[in-house]
Symmetry: C2
Subunit: 268 residues, 2 copies
């Protein structure tokens, strides 16, 4: 016999949130996560528990401009009215950007074919409007060295040295880092990372290493050695969460991302 | 006999703050204002009460990019070290931007020769990163009409109809509104207001009227009549505080602004 909800229409949502107000996308502490807040609103709307499925988790303090989730529910009106109802009473630190009807084959996590993150650094003390959304760096940074290190890291590699997860060795930690750019505009440096999937705390570990290179603490040669070691050590520091933004989740219709089915794909 | 502090050097400071975290520049509730937070830090540094004098008050929820204040204190080191010490342990929602040594004739309020404010409107629902810093407007706005109304308001006028203060009629409510511009960039509309001084809630009243014109609720002719009436009525709505930024305070060395000595010059 089919699950009661299996015949319900599936909805894909894109949302933004200020991670500084939450204990992450999904939290151990009930009520404190972004997912809890959205599920609480859906409970009000539908009069029952509605579980949402995110493209992956974000850590406490990490922001999103384009997180994706899906849920199943009957809704008599169009997606526009669903969007308006969802927006009506969410905390102001969360915004649902779009709602689309999708086929039951769509899955926000298993069908994700890639993700893009941006990390914001600020050269020197940031003002009160920038502080909650960047990592202040007080030493001068060598952008050319950072870009040279980024070139070493780009491409398909085993990124075991760049994850905080000490999982079993058999877990697949190979990812295709399609993009890793370092761009400066005034006192703001943006590091853009795009891959078919990210390991736990991988973006913040990449940023930590790039900043260490920029400060002259590590060389491009060191970065090559760290990557080849496939071992996480204290040399790789994790950048703080408030500079990180999940910008976009990519989907290819009808194709499942096998990388996203492993336990290590709790994207930060 | 001279006041004990009269021989102490005077320091001029420029600061920024996120007004969403405070009950205004100066508050009835002790400890909740920007001034209280800065004075608490000065008390730690100097081991005694140090009173600061702002260029004017900002209401609860109003932000500042360039508020100015002064205080008197002996300091053995240079302004750079004073700046570093002040920055060291303030709440992250406040940033001291500059510290300068000034002559005892300088007064942050009485010598201010003008101020510039910016008000941010957002066309439609803003994302969680923009919401705390703008007023969302859900109707289309006629920018040309708003600019025509701004032209009526610019210049030297009695702005009694644009202040929330119902003071005695003899109080001087004439101000020189040197600049009132409406500018659009994407979904953000900025209203820039500059004058020799502003009456209580004057900027937010001007914005409320300009938005009413943009929405078609008031005509340019109505605005002319409101200005000429010199009477505050319910037709003039006060825009919410979170869109307002005190951008800059102007000083002309050696000249006192007489307008700033009246009770009504509690700038918002």
């Amino acid at each position: 016999m089919a699950h009661p909800s299996s015949s319900e229409p599936r909805w894909k949502c894109v949302c933004a949130y200020d991670g500084g107000h939450f204990a992450g996308w999904q939290s151990q502490v009930s009520g404190a996560s972004v997912q809890d807040a959205i599920e609480a609103r859906l409970r009000e709307m539908f009069g029952r528990e509605v579980r949402i499925h995110g493209s992956g988790r974000t850590d406490a303090g990490v922001h999103a401009l384009g997180q994706v989730f899906h849920f199943d529910a009957h809704w008599r009106h169009g997606p526009e009215k669903l969007l308006a109802a969802l927006r009506a009473r969410l905390p102001s630190a969360i915004q649902i950007k779009t709602v689309c009807a999708v086929t039951p084959e769509f899955h926000a996590r298993f069908q994700a074919s890639g993700k893009r993150y941006t990390y914001r650094l600020h050269l020197g003390d940031a003002d009160p409007f920038t502080r909650p959304y960047s990592w202040p760096v007080f030493r001068p940074l060598d952008l050319a060295a950072m870009n040279a290190a980024a070139a070493v890291l780009r491409g398909r590699h085993d990124f075991r040295a760049f994850t905080a997860l000490n999982g079993p060795a058999r877990v697949d930690t190979v990812r295709d880092l399609r993009r890793l750019d370092v761009r400066r505009r005034g006192r703001v440096i943006r590091i853009i990372a795009e891959a078919d999937g990210f390991l736990y705390k991988m973006v913040r570990s990449l940023v930590g290493v790039l900043v260490a290179v920029g400060e002259g603490k590590l060389t491009v040669h060191d970065v090559r050695a760290i990557l080849a070691s496939r071992q996480r050590t204290a040399v790789v520091q994790t950048a703080p969460p408030q500079g990180l933004f999940l910008v976009r989740v990519f989907y290819r219709p009808g194709r499942r991302s096998t990388a996203a089915t492993t336990d290590v794909d709790n994207d930060e």
